[in-house]
């Protein structure tokens, strides 16, 4: 089985256009599980983690955005300075797997798999990230909400690579929570990411593992924008409760062997309330 190891983006996309059925391999922490289980039998493998353009991130102070290459690992996202620029992404990265998985696994791979339980995705959704794709015929970008199509389905064409995501640097509290039955190294039963934009006077909330893709809780967001006090950084107990209720109402969980739908919905409510409380002191 040929393994293609491009070192530049140009090389990578032209190789992929020649063999669009190739398995794109970043950290391999999802892809190799599927190969080992016999669910995927690739004829070609295209390895992307030696492509310099994909391996780094850049901060644009003018636009106040961070562009994160798709092959940046969780271990890298957990370290300052990027951890200070996008704190929720660092928090989410700390919840992923084990040290081994965090050193191999990439944000691009999380997008490629597009599982509703992917821990990077709620953060990208809450930040209104833009996903960048490239192929031999050109580049395109789209909002994360359009990129995620369904359970383990996304808008990438087979001849395209995910090259990067762009996220804004936001001033305000950011946090991520994930419920699992083990203290680490566990698939999420429910996740929530909050991003507070203090100057913009908005609160954004995205929830995962409770629907076919990540869900933005627009009712809860609208409610919070009007109910919290951005100037004093406070929120009432009632506001926190209501925020949780609205978040829970936005979830579309299912019953499965990991948890009941009721539990997942309940957990979303609890996490959303607690995240809001972390961002806003009690009055």
């Amino acid at each position: 089985m040929p393994v293609l190891v491009p070192t530049s983006l140009d090389q990578a996309v032209s190789m992929l256009s020649a063999t669009p059925d190739a398995l794109v391999l970043a950290g391999g922490t999802d892809a190799m599980v599927e190969v080992n289980a016999g669910h995927r039998k690739p004829h070609h493998v295209l390895v992307v983690n030696r492509v310099a353009e994909l391996r780094s991130w850049t901060f644009d102070p003018e636009a106040s955005t961070v562009r994160i290459g798709s092959a940046v690992t969780y271990a890298e996202l957990m370290e300052p300075p990027i951890a200070d620029l996008v704190p929720a992404l660092a928090e989410a990265s700390r919840t992923v797997g084990s040290p081994q998985i965090r050193h191999a696994g990439t944000l691009g791979g999380n997008l490629g798999t597009c599982s509703p339980a992917g821990d990077g995705l709620p953060v990208l959704a809450a930040l209104d990230a833009i996903v960048h794709l490239a192929s031999a015929t050109g580049e395109r970008s789209m909002p994360i909400g359009e990129f995620m199509v369904g359970v383990k389905r996304n808008a990438r064409r087979p001849d395209e690579l995910i090259t990067a995501v762009t996220v804004p640097v936001v001033s305000g509290y950011q946090g991520y929570s994930k419920v699992g039955v083990r203290n680490a190294m566990v698939i999420a039963l429910a996740t929530a990411c909050i991003v507070v934009d203090t100057p913009g006077r908005t609160v954004r909330l995205a929830i995962g593992s409770v629907g076919t893709t990540i869900i933005r809780c627009t009712d809860a967001e609208a409610f919070a924008a009007s109910a919290v006090d951005f100037d004093s950084g406070t929120a009432s107990g009632d506001t926190v409760t209501r925020f949780g209720e609205l978040a829970a109402a936005a979830s579309r969980p299912i019953d499965d062997h990991r948890a009941t739908a009721d539990y997942r919905r309940h957990a979303i409510g609890v996490m959303a309330g607690r995240l809001l409380r972390r961002g806003f002191a009690n009055v």
Partner: protein, 758 residues
């Protein structure tokens, strides 16, 4: 991390905390596990398994599979030359299903081919036509007769009643509960693997396999192959954990059959998913108990009904059941009892041995009852247990007196006196990893409530009910070097460490060589039931003593000393006067002794129809105290500390004992809060480590240990088995702590988030 003072490290004698001889290789990754076995011209084997929990096999068409190039053998039930079924106690399980399949994963055929991928394609090409039947998955329906028998032996594997004392007795205080124990998997990390080689000139077969009991495997394999036992030679492959799951036959017969059929070496290695289907599990059980007590908390009578789901085949279900019912009372005095226990057959996964063997289930119930009783009597959980604590000479509800050292009260008191964690609720330094929810950062300190729970247990050691339980060991002593041979399966418990320590202590040698562990020597019995230190240790001790006697006799003849006055002092042989002194190395120069001994424990009896009889051999005791932090709103748990005082008799290797205690607590914690094979309608929903959650390092609490060393006069070295007790009562202690934190009853394990919030 364990806290234990006074760990002794010397020169490998009994009582020293020496490390394992295979420890470095295991840590460095160079240890050969059975999955690493290779041979030239080796074929790969694989197993076709039933997708249905219950179905009639209409036809099996192998023709398409045979056409795949690289396929060297395909075998089904028709190709089994000997006995068609096997089993540890009753031989009710087919080597390959031929008419009906009774559980998801039951083997139907096996192939041998040049490559695992060829095997996979061949399995896919085998066409089996089934008539799907209604599965029997509810154990109660197996009992009430509402489902037709799913096996010629019927749906009831065994019923045992125990009637003790005055069953009309009543107490001032009555508490009852129904306890549910989920199906736990042994989840050893070294998957099932074996390599079979046809013997030279067609003379039988050699099998290298990770197992718990070479000779029992040999017996069952030979019967199915239609060979004499000596034509099936077994060597222990490196074992990556066992915990009971390697006591039954899994891939042994298939691998040998394929090797004999092809005339080439064949290896089979299960995948994780296959492993979940391919071995027996801990019995799920439902246990109802009613305790009657005096107002001051003394147990008057216990009533109980236990139903153990044995799954499709009997395996050791009947023995597991007996352990369950005979441990109903726990480590407490109780004169009057009425217990009915049932092991039933269903179309769920077969269940058999797992660390604790029926006692885990009983203990979860009786300890839940003790807490209910404490509450009803207004007593502290520790106090109620002390008031009822069993002592040497007390009788079980089977009428069997406890003849062992029984420091139950001491276990309880010492556990209660161990220091509580100094960590405040919610942990130190705002480290989210110390909170329930861990890395997920779900909670803040103010959401957390702490609870403390207590549990105590009694566990039988060795085999029961009249089984001829023995172990064999051979010792050769020449030129100051002792060589030991035994068939004791080293599954990680550390017998190879202890065996050397025994030989060094008894013989005064430094160098002890261990021969390969195989069937060239008599049986050692199973590495299970916490029995090998006692049994194989007893055999090694006895054979070394015998060799030492011969050595003393020969010295007496050479030097004219009185053999009966000689003893070992370090590396020397000395006489009572201290005048005669010679090193063992010098004394044995040019001499050699070679002896083999079979060691047996005292015989046991069957139970009568009222469950009376001295059915067990010996008992060990332990207490556990758990401290947990709970997030009641999300139902998440972090176990902070487990403290334990364990009755070990004598710690032959304290480090090794700590290893068993910590590992056993990890497994008990797993059952308490996360480990469960979830089945619906006979199908496993979570046959992978993605969804079958084992505790990791980050779930493991601090363990504080006190070893209670009161050498047992009945035990050959004073040492009791230490492997199972840590698992037995750690589970109920953790659940009791959760109850304490949230103030409500939880009567099923594992405890799920919904059980806490619901």
């Amino acid at each position: 991390m364990s806290i234990l003072s006074g760990v002794r490290r010397h020169d490998g004698r009994l009582g020293d905390s020496i490390t394992r001889p295979d420890g470095t290789a295991k840590v460095q990754g160079s240890f050969m596990f059975s999955g690493d076995l290779e041979a030239e011209h080796c074929l790969w084997g694989a197993t076709l398994r039933s997708p249905h929990p219950h179905a009639r096999i209409i036809s099996i068409d192998l023709s398409a599979a045979w056409k795949i190039s690289g396929v060297e053998a395909i075998i089904t039930a028709e190709d089994v030359p000997g006995q068609l079924t096997y089993g540890l106690i009753s031989q009710d399980q087919p080597v390959f299903a031929s008419e009906v399949v009774r559980y998801v994963g039951e083997p139907i055929a096996a192939v041998a081919a040049d490559h695992p991928e060829t095997c996979r394609r061949a399995l896919q090409a085998i066409v089996v036509v089934y008539e799907v039947l209604e599965p029997l998955t509810d154990p109660e329906r197996a009992l009430d007769g509402s489902h037709p028998p799913i096996h010629p032996d019927g749906n009831l594997i065994r019923h045992q009643r125990i009637v003790s004392g005055d069953i009309t007795a009543t107490g001032d205080v009555v508490v009852e509960g129904t306890y549910v124990i989920g199906m736990q998997d042994q989840a050893f990390l070294g998957l099932e693997a074996a390599l079979a080689m046809p013997g030279p000139g067609g003379a039988g077969v050699d099998l290298y396999v990770a197992t718990q009991w070479l000779h029992e495997d040999q017996k069952q394999i030979a019967a199915c192959l239609g060979l004499a036992p000596e034509q099936v030679r077994l060597t222990l492959g490196g074992v990556g954990g066992a915990f009971g799951a390697r006591e039954d036959i899994s891939l042994q017969v298939h691998t040998c059959l394929l090797a004999l059929r092809t005339g080439r070496p064949v290896r089979i290695q299960y995948s994780r998913e296959e492993s979940f289907l391919g071995h027996v599990h801990r019995h799920p059980a439902t246990i109802w108990m009613r305790h009657h007590a005096t107002a001051d908390g003394h147990i008057v009578k216990i009533e109980a009904r236990m139903v153990f789901d044995g799954g499709a085949y009997a395996s050791t279900s009947s023995a597991v059941l007996i352990n369950g019912v005979t441990h109903t009372q726990g480590p407490y005095k109780c004169a009057n009892a009425l217990v009915d226990g049932y092991a039933v057959r269903t179309n769920n996964l077969p269940c058999g041995a797992m660390r604790g063997f029926g006692v885990v289930q009983a203990c979860f119930a009786h300890e839940g009852q003790m807490d209910r009783l404490a509450a009803a009597c207004g007593l502290d959980p520790v106090e109620i247990r002390l008031r009822n604590a069993m002592e040497t000479g007390d009788k079980l509800i089977t009428g069997q007196p406890i003849l062992n050292v029984a420091p139950v009260a001491r276990c309880i008191r010492e556990t209660a006196a161990l220091p509580l964690p100094d960590e405040p609720v919610g942990g130190h330094d705002h480290d989210p990893m110390r909170l329930p929810g861990g890395a997920g950062r779900t909670a803040d300190r103010r959401h957390i409530r702490r609870g403390i729970g207590f549990a105590v247990s009694i566990k039988n050691l060795m085999y029961s009910e009249g089984f001829d339980d023995y172990a064999t060991a051979r010792c050769r002593l020449a030129d100051g070097v002792a060589t030991l041979k035994f068939a004791t399966a080293e599954v990680g418990q550390g017998f190879i460490t202890i065996a050397g320590q025994i030989a060094r202590s008894v013989l005064g040698v430094d160098d002890v060589l261990l021969d390969p562990i195989d069937t060239d020597v008599g049986s050692a019995g199973s590495t299970s039931a916490s029995r090998q230190t006692w049994m194989s240790g007893g055999a090694v001790n006895a054979v070394c003593m015998k060799v030492r006697g011969l050595m003393f006799d020969s010295l007496a003849a050479i030097y004219g000393v009185d053999a009966s006055t000689l003893s070992i002092e370090g590396r020397d042989i000395v006489d009572a006067t201290g005048v005669f002194r010679i090193t063992v190395v010098d004394a044995t120069a040019g001499l050699s002794f070679d002896e083999t001994v079979e060691f047996r424990h005292a015989p046991t009896e069957d139970l009568d129809e009222n469950g009376q009889g001295n059915c067990h051999t010996a008992f060990a005791f332990v207490a556990h105290r758990a401290v947990v932090d709970v997030d009641p709103e999300l139902g998440l748990v972090k176990v902070i500390q487990v403290a334990t005082a364990q009755d070990v008799g004598r710690a032959l290797n304290p480090l090794s004992v700590i290893g068993q205690i910590e590992g056993g607590i990890a497994q008990g914690l797993g059952l308490a809060v996360m480990e469960e094979i979830i089945m619906s309608n006979g199908r496993v929903r979570n046959p992978s480590f993605t969804d079958y959650l084992l505790p990791t390092f980050l779930d493991m609490p601090d363990v504080v240990i006190s070893l209670i060393e009161e050498p047992d006069p009945i035990a050959p070295l004073g040492a009791k088995g230490v492997g199972e007790p840590p698992t037995v009562s750690s589970t109920p202690a953790i659940v009791a702590a959760i109850r304490d934190a949230i103030g409500k009853h939880i009567d099923r394990v594992p405890v799920r988030p919904i059980d806490i919030i619901g």
